[in-house]
Symmetry: C2
Subunit: 370 residues, 2 copies
């Protein structure tokens, strides 16, 4: 068995986990439906109580006039950008070079909507006001992802957001929020979802990141915008006869976990601190601003893999099921804190981190000797 598979296997066998809410299995769905009445009627192509009630609830929570449930954020966000482009008659938008639309969607925005993205700022940092000030009226929409996931979940200052929002309004540029992890950033900003969303013309939120639902997304904005988004949802093939398996579970996990984001945030800071104490390890950001961060090792993937495998077997704590190479001498993985972290006894955590640091130091010594 190759090391990568061993890493997955040993991770799966651990009792404890640093990140997440536990396995994504059928239990996750079943428990969310258990208490609900069997006679609860399905939605029907976007209509019916089950979908309309949830859309209304989320519109209210996000402080927007109206909201539409989508099977995926990929679909919702392409559609949001398309609507703003059509409204302005300009097929150009701006977003971060590591935006989900740029690196995870097989160029759907370009291939399906012929929209040209301007990549704003730099891969290694978040978009700042200075980047935005360069934008003129010739783009329809600026998309901001909060937090910027691919660089460890970093966030701008709230004042920066306010300034970007004011600038965009002045210039007639629509501002769209990729809020896949919106719930997760409320504790850092100490703002409500509605307060943050007020800065944006349209907002997408996800139900399977920090909330741990099955799948699904909400797109919110004014009613003209959301009504148009329903037409595009049908065109994309997202206006399913029944979306209720996603809606009901989204509602369940929203209710269960939206109030826990402060706790996950505090735990993320605690855990990042432990990593930063270890030899050859640093987190990005050093102090997390949400429930997520990246753990960077000044050690190559091939060297780190057996160390993590040993750690899994020895401590019963799952650190990560994968490793990504940054360059030939460094590697990292992502952590998002959820319900699993609190289940690990303190002494086991401390022992595990002592062991990790020791293994990394030993590796360093061996390398120097060689």
């Amino acid at each position: 068995m190759v090391e990568g598979n061993r890493l997955v296997e040993t991770f799966k066998q651990t009792v404890y986990r640093l990140g997440g809410h536990g396995p994504r299995d059928l239990h996750t769905l079943k428990i969310s439906l258990m208490e609900l009445d069997d006679e609860l009627e399905s939605d029907l192509y976007g209509k019916g109580k089950v979908i309309e009630d949830f859309e209304e609830k989320m519109a209210h929570y996000l402080g927007k006039e109206s909201a539409v449930f989508f099977p995926s954020g990929t679909m919702a966000q392409q559609i949001a950008l398309r609507i703003w482009c059509d409204q302005k008659g300009i097929k150009k938008v701006a977003y971060h070079p590591l935006s989900h639309l740029e690196i995870h969607e097989e160029d759907g925005l370009k291939e399906l909507h012929q929209i040209e993205p301007i990549l704003l700022g730099n891969k290694d940092r978040i978009i700042q006001l200075e980047d935005v000030l360069g934008l003129e009226e010739d783009i329809a929409c600026l998309l901001l992802e909060l937090p910027q996931r691919e660089i460890g979940g970093q966030l701008p200052e709230y004042e920066t957001l306010e300034a970007i929002s004011a600038y965009c309004r002045e210039k007639g540029i629509k501002l769209h929020l990729d809020g896949a992890r919106l719930f997760e950033i409320m504790p850092f900003y100490q703002k409500s979802a509605a307060e943050i969303c007020e800065l944006f013309d349209s907002v997408y939120v996800s139900f399977y990141k920090g909330l741990g639902g099955i799948a699904g997304a909400i797109l919110a904005g004014d009613t003209d915008f959301t009504e148009t988004s329903k037409v595009w949802k049908r065109r994309h093939g997202g206006d399913l006869i029944s979306l209720y398996p996603y809606i009901l579970s989204a509602d369940y996990y929203f209710n269960l976990r939206v109030g826990k984001m402060e706790k996950y945030f505090e735990e993320a800071k605690e855990l990042a601190f432990l990593f930063n104490q270890c030899h050859a390890v640093s987190t990005l950001p050093i102090e997390p601003v949400s429930n997520m961060f990246h753990v960077h090792f000044a050690v190559q993937k091939e060297t780190l893999e057996p160390i993590l495998i040993d750690l899994h077997l020895e401590t019963g704590i799952g650190f990560s099921s994968y490793l990504k190479e940054v360059n030939s001498g460094a590697s990292y993985f992502e952590l998002g804190i959820g319900d699993m972290y609190e289940q690990i006894p303190n002494d086991k955590i401390n022992a595990a981190f002592a062991s990790l640091s020791k293994k990394l130091e030993q590796n360093n010594t061996n390398n120097n000797v060689e």
Copy 2:
């Protein structure tokens, strides 16, 4: 309350139903998951045992090299046509004027893929070999919907299908099957799914029509085709992190009902016969060729609605929850036979049809007297 709402309400209160499998409610999902292991792992963006096993099962059943699970047929079919257009470098396809793509998808094919459809034949009848013989190499794909739903679920002779298939192969035109109701036509043709699909280059099947699942579709063809369809599935926003709620229920209802299509077909013929005995009623087609048909009344919608409402209240048998106007003097509804039909006692059926016919005759007499 307007009559249309009364029709829905009285329909919902009936104990028996002529068509369908019963209400689309949460029970439909729960029962399909009940026996499955809680630890069953989710699919993950199109990968994993739960999705791959089902795709393989359906590929085998349809006699194709490979199959991909999609959240919807709207998505699957646009993508199929796009792939064939790209392969040939011609953005033109042909289908029936009442194809799902033409009338139910908000022009997704045109708006997202810039594909121009040629509407083949005539609204009131199915596509015949003569219509196809006019096609030349300048189209990429011909889509056939079997049965043609919007005209009561009509079918061409099997020999016609074979001749169309042979012609398309000769001319280098890809042939795609809109098999939303493929399982339902096997008894009429007395052919297996694989035998029918052999005539086509690509095939879509649905899991919530005759099978009565929650939602979801399969697109099948050769492996080059299906692998490309996965890229487009991601672009459309259909490559969800978890599709298992649809996959598991699709598998459950496929296993439960695919073997009952012969029975539904026989019952549809029996029921259509009863309708055709009634005054001012005829079914389309007169003798069904699948589990479905349309019931046409030589009576306007406003007149028929109170008659059906009375019938619901009087007999406890749900005829239809809606009526569509054909023109000012005629109306119709659609029936698809499922598990509900067999539950109605024979004497109740006969009494209900006697009553329907009497009410329609009475209405006729009243009109003549006025």
